[in-house]
């Protein structure tokens, strides 16, 4: 039953993809009727595009060919404006992971403290509530001004956007550890550090990982936007640079790779989350 459902779903997915590709193909078919256009304009945009012989929007096969090219050689580096898509993704993932890990280093211990102290929870709550809804990109000018380095600013933006979900979830997870388990630790005279590591941490781990999963999703969304602003390297910069190059196929390759990497990141954290989840 479950297997047949999965098979049906897979067939349907393939069918939907095929329909989408077919629609795309039809929409970008070359039009045969010749058009007379202004000579200046033709010079500017290229003969083919100006006369309508071929749409400026790539066909699925154009895109496929470009994609294959990227897959075959993802890691070349021919100067600042021509790097392989793999290199650019590596820059983005590295930057994002650095910001994310820094955020985890701050958010998890701080969340622990807040979660264990009702006073701290209440005292910090207004700050968290105000800071949480701020778009991370709004921090960018302030970061550039104070940090004076575009790369560090991008990492800071990732840090600031991933810190809140992790902080809130850690605090919530720690605060809602079952009273019974804490009482067990109390009656066994377990020392505070051991209690934190062997009772509270495993009890709160699923909630903490949920926060991390949300954070890494947001961080991946934000890094693309931040790199468009900051420039230099990264997949966000790549997409923006290809817009300046008017290479729609490259923009589309960038978009697809962002999606794939985002999915992979979510999958990995999801596996980790599953590993620490317990059944009561």
């Amino acid at each position: 039953m479950a297997a047949s459902l999965r098979l049906k779903a897979a067939i349907l997915s393939v069918l939907l993809l095929a329909m989408f590709l077919a629609a795309w193909h039809l929409a970008t078919l070359s039009k045969t009727s010749a058009q007379v256009v202004d000579a200046e304009y033709a010079k500017l945009v290229g003969q083919q595009a100006s006369t309508g012989q071929k749409s400026a929007f790539p066909t699925p096969s154009d895109f496929g060919a470009k994609l294959l090219e990227h897959v075959r050689n993802p890691f070349y580096d021919k100067g600042p404006n021509d790097k392989g898509i793999g290199v650019q993704l590596a820059y983005s993932v590295g930057r994002m992971l650095l910001g994310f890990l820094l955020a985890a280093l701050v958010a998890v211990p701080l969340g622990f403290l807040i979660g264990m102290s009702p006073l701290g929870y209440r005292a910090l709550d207004p700050f968290i509530q105000i800071l949480k809804p701020i778009s991370p990109l709004a921090w960018m000018p302030l970061a550039l001004f104070t940090l004076k380095d575009s790369d560090i600013s991008a990492i800071f933006v990732i840090f600031i956007c991933s810190v809140w979900p992790m902080l809130i979830n850690t605090a919530f997870g720690v605060a809602s550890v079952r009273r019974d388990w804490l009482n067990v630790a109390k009656t066994l005279e377990v020392r505070p550090l051991r209690k934190a590591l062997t009772v509270i941490l495993p009890a709160a781990a699923p909630t903490i990982l949920t926060g991390m999963r949300i954070s890494i999703g947001i961080a991946w969304l934000v890094i693309v936007a931040a790199e468009m602003l900051v420039g230099g390297t990264g997949i966000g910069y790549f997409v923006w640079n290809e817009w300046n190059n008017l290479s729609i196929v490259n923009i589309m390759s960038g978009i697809l790779s962002i999606g794939l990497v985002g999915m992979l990141l979510d999958f990995l954290v999801g596996r980790l989350q599953k590993a620490v989840t317990y059944v009561e």
């Binding site: 079952r178 019974d180 388990w181 009482n183 067990v184 109390k186 009656t187 066994l188 005279e189 377990v190 062997t198 009772v199 495993p202 009890a203 781990a205 620490v276 317990y278 059944v279 009561e280």
Partner: protein, 288 residues
Amino acid sequence: MSFLQIQDLAKRYPGSTVFEGVNFAMEKGEFVCIIGHSGCGKTTILNVLAGLDAASGGTVIMDNREVAGPSLDRGVVFQGHALMPWLSVSSNIAFAVKSRWPDWNRIQIQVHCQKFIDLVGLTGSEHKKPSQLSGGMKQRVGIARAFAIQPKMLLLDEPFGALDALTRGTIQDELVRICAATHQTVFMITHDVDESILLADRILLMSNGPNACIAEVVENTLPRPRDRHNIHHDPQYYRVRNHLVDFLVNRSKLYQTGEEKRPVHPPAVRPGVEEAAEASAKIINLRH
């Protein structure tokens, strides 16, 4: 001086008193049950003994030391078993054993845990997670964990309340066996009159709360060893049982209204012993 002494214990909240003037003592190796309706403060008394709750007044002295805060000297079996779901059966017990003997190596801990796993009849389930166990098995792990630290006193908070009658019976049998073997001092909360007669040496009867008190201490005159399967054939069984049920149904509410006097030191009663003596005297008279 008794092993455990509770003097003038009280728990008050602003505007209400749960219980006050609670006095009783326990000897080493004794099994004491406490019975009373919900809200009389049984669990609070147990939590004070465990060091998990603070009383508003009075003192608890165990083994010549005042009880202040939790201690490894008093093991607790919680009502809701309180096993850590991410740990296996043996790891749950090992967690307690490591707390009790931090210097032990892995093998010492493992051997000690296994002994108590075998004791409660969970051999073969060492590596199961609590979610894979039935309610009865979970409670056995809780009992094994409490016994494994070899505390001076064991506190059981209605440990079989959530179990079905059949499972409850088997675990009661096991508890009887383990207590007989270890001479453990036990203080236990129960709602089950039959359970208290099977297990306890003495049964504390609490009047209804608020303003509850210990009204009476019933001495369980049924001889040991007791067997769940034929204990009810002893004529004395129903004398004790009727006394307990009478108290819970009729008398437990009279202490609030003043129809029954609140005792400072609860009287010890031995229900049915005089009647039994009279009855046997009659039989002897008839024979003559």
